[in-house]
Symmetry: D2
Subunit: 309 residues, 4 copies
């Protein structure tokens, strides 16, 4: 599934290794010649599971992090709460995380402060969308309001001036298609965001087919990589998207959605039968829980440092 | 599955209703005539799923909360971090939560402070175990160390003096059997904890059968309800435990273990096929995610307060 | 310095006692017949110092809390950070705190969530100002932007619907005079906020005299108490304000400003002399630090609970 | 006030500049030939005031941070709370901070985790004392309990293995003299801590004279720099200490103690006079508050990024 080199401009990616800084790793994944795949994670555990599965980068989703905290995807968590949660995800894995930063938590100044603190905590890149604050999830059945291009570009410029690592990725996400704007406005916005300093453009669509994405890709100037989130157009073959010039795909919420299904099933079973009869066969073992959190490392370290377990 | 009234002493439970304070609800469940069942929750989402399934109370497990944060069950989260996470669980449900408070986070003074802040945040009760700080999970293959009876009773007395609500539940958990002490020491400790003010006794065992629990129940003075965690002796019929005098059972980690299994499966599938082909059928829908977080309430409130969506 | 009863409407205040809920105490202070005085506090220590001095209520100022954290008064702290800090202030005193909630941290939904969490933590009342988010301090030499009356009233209505305690105080602050609007708009806004449910109106002015405040008070309908912040018109005698109908005065930032002056002096002296020679005479003693934090209570509790110190 | 070169071993310090990493700056100050002076700070504001006064490094004191939060110096704040507060101090200044890490917050594992997170947040070094957890302030009139040498050295070794920056400073503080142990035990402990990896030794004394410190310095092997805290022996000339071989002095709590004195004075005055009459002359101005928090930078940035103020 080769990425069309002409689409990613003049960027020549060096080989990816685990020893590169996280921001650099993420830059290679999104801007390099190979198609990038980012798996959703909503906590440190799901992050580690995705890393174990082979993924090279993660998407820290506001929808799924909010939902795991029982909250709507509408900035009900503050950015400091989100960053604390994502810091735990970063500690748990060795691969970079692209953080969903919603509409930037306020104005350019708050977003700048956030970008500095995110870099300090090891966030490799952030995605910011061109809606007002507070945002609401793009799939919610309610009105959505776009930010002005001037206000949004102020955030992009300020963020790039405040990034700690030179390879920190600023992905600008346009919700133009989501709010019903046309292709032309979408392109104008994407171009403006690129000129303001965005490292990649995420075009979001809630269509059941990829036609909006393909139309955008066809007209896009190719100055910056295209990132997409095929949640509603999940049936579109990945080749169709990458052949059109898409650089990176985000599987945006599926780990949490898998977890919900199974938690509902097991919980209902246990409630009804008032016992654990037969449950162990359908859930992972305690030993696996220990393995996912490196319990053996703690036991070994206790012997090493304390001289006894 | 009637609870043996003689086992729960002179307590006469009024009918349980959603309008009672959370601490009172929890007291009725653990001390009342019906067998209590507490389902594990590790975040607000799993808490709501358990409430939706019909559970009347929850167990906020240190093992599963730590694991979801990528950490060992060894006090790697501070108590303020744990309480912040559990506050979100409390916001998400209308049923009481018994919080796993490990070995109490330090001395009587720290535990007192914790108990005040936990009550403020709506925690209905806490469980404290008689190990040193930091504790390590009872199933970890390493040495476990019991606290002195004096130090542990100091925490119990101080906690009861500092509870905000008169029905706040202090469940004292003895790890005597886990560290290899005999039944006699277990009984001596349980009796001391009760005398210090504990509202219930949790006897923990990592045996593959319930024989330790049944032996304890046979000798127990019945002054306080018995709570058990049948993780390793999951095959024991619930009736066997309740007929022996057990008041309340905790299904301690199964929601997270279900989630892990399914996240591993779905994540591996998506990684291998590099697409979402066929995934939607095996995960819950976005609409269900919205439903679990009351997105429709937000949309309705927007109309009500703003006059438009 | 009696408060003009006719100005505070039909409210009849019961006597204030320490056993009343904090929200009720604050309501009595702002709505009752006596003039209310709220002293600024920026952390738990300054809160306790103000309580020790005799104040019956506190003002948790965004300017001074932000400044103590090294930040601009422009929502650089998130509301969860602010609430955590103020929770510590509440723990330290027995008097109610009116929390400066800036422009409400976002829309009605975020403000509602904040009001619920603030009530849970013991905040007795909040003050919200009619500016956009993020706000900037009223004395900053930059443009200020008012929120629409509709958006602001949405927040007021939602807040009142979400308050936990029936006496929780919602003080609506209009910045109309600060941004250069005229008296008429100020009155229209104040009236709208009152109709939406505000319990008191704070009229802010950055004039060096009280003429704007006095003009407002002269025309105000007297349906709700008037609160003022005489930072720039500090020379105005208190009687002039209360005789005009002002109910409550906030000394908004003077504790921090005193602290800065003395910290600058002592720090410069120590730096220059490279010793502590003569310093003890000009600073409070370690014993006083212990006294302000009840160290003796900890020592006594250690003996009581542990049986030894 | 030259530092005795022979006391600081073979270390040759390069010139100190603002462009060095913070950990390196702190290493130069403590291990270099010049006497180091660390000024207490308890929040970002006092940190900036100390930097403005000319100090090259700061002491983030548990006593004063706890007291400013209304808490006893007895680990009532969790380490995550302390680190969040100190992160704000780091953001506010360009000089390194030595963080008072009490007795290490638990065992070697918790301390290791803390050291990693502290490094991530920009802490330049930490000081850990050889008492049990929770610790209590050395000046509190109660029993103090020393940790075993084995447990304490486990923490030191683990910390050095987990530091992020190679110049991160681990200052080992012995409380042997404070608990009444003799000089010999103090020396044995200091030597063991140095062998375990400590970068400097802090010898604490609560004597009213420096005789304990001078006796220690006379016998010390000089392998690691000596740090002292002359709070109780404040009258001792600095030369007396440095000539004996002391490398670094910490002015440990005087900024807060200055602030308390002035806040008590001003608050009492305002309470009594029920007005701000004459207060402005004795406190710093609002403009100074703005200056200390770089308000002008925000106004300039608004013009630069937004195109208008």
């Amino acid at each position: 599934m080769p990425k069309d080199h002409s689409k990613s401009g003049t960027y020549t990616a060096p080989p990816i290794t685990g020893h590169l800084p996280l921001a650099t790793q993420l830059r290679h994944i999104i801007c390099g010649p190979e198609t990038g795949f980012l798996m959703e994670a909503h906590n440190a555990l799901s992050a580690r599971i995705a890393e174990n599965a082979g993924f090279k980068a993660l998407w820290a989703s506001s929808l799924t992090i909010s939902a795991s905290m029982g909250l709507r995807d509408a900035n009900e968590l503050t950015w400091t709460q989100s960053l604390d949660l994502i810091s735990g995800m970063i500690d748990a894995v060795g691969i970079p995380i692209l953080m969903d930063a919603d509409s930037g938590y306020g104005d350019f100044n708050i977003f700048s402060r956030f970008v500095r603190k995110a870099g300090e905590r090891g966030v490799a890149g952030v995605c910011i969308e061109d809606k007002l604050f507070p945002k609401i999830n793009s799939f919610a059945k309610t009105e959505q309001h776009l930010a002005s291009v001037n206000d949004f570009c102020a955030k992009i410029r300020a963020a790039k001036d405040n990034q700690i690592h030179p390879d920190f990725m600023l992905v600008a996400r346009t919700e133009a298609l989501v709010v019903g704007a046309d292709l032309e406005e979408t392109l104008v916005r994407a171009e403006a965001y690129y000129e303001a300093g965005a490292d990649a453009i995420l075009v979001h669509s809630k269509s059941n087919t990829a036609h909006e994405i393909l139309a955008f890709a066809d007209k896009w100037s190719n100055k910056a990589p295209i990132v997409v989130v095929p949640t509603t157009y999940a049936d579109t073959p990945t080749d169709t998207l990458t052949n059109a010039g898409v650089s990176t795909l985000i599987w945006a919420n599926h780990s949490l959605r898998a977890a919900i299904r199974s938690m509902e099933d097991i919980t209902a079973r246990i409630f009804k039968q008032q016992s654990l009869n037969g449950i162990d066969a359908d859930v992972t073992s305690i030993e696996d829980v220990f393995s996912l959190t490196d319990m053996s490392e703690l036991i070994a370290a206790t012997k090493r440092y304390q001289g006894h377990s």
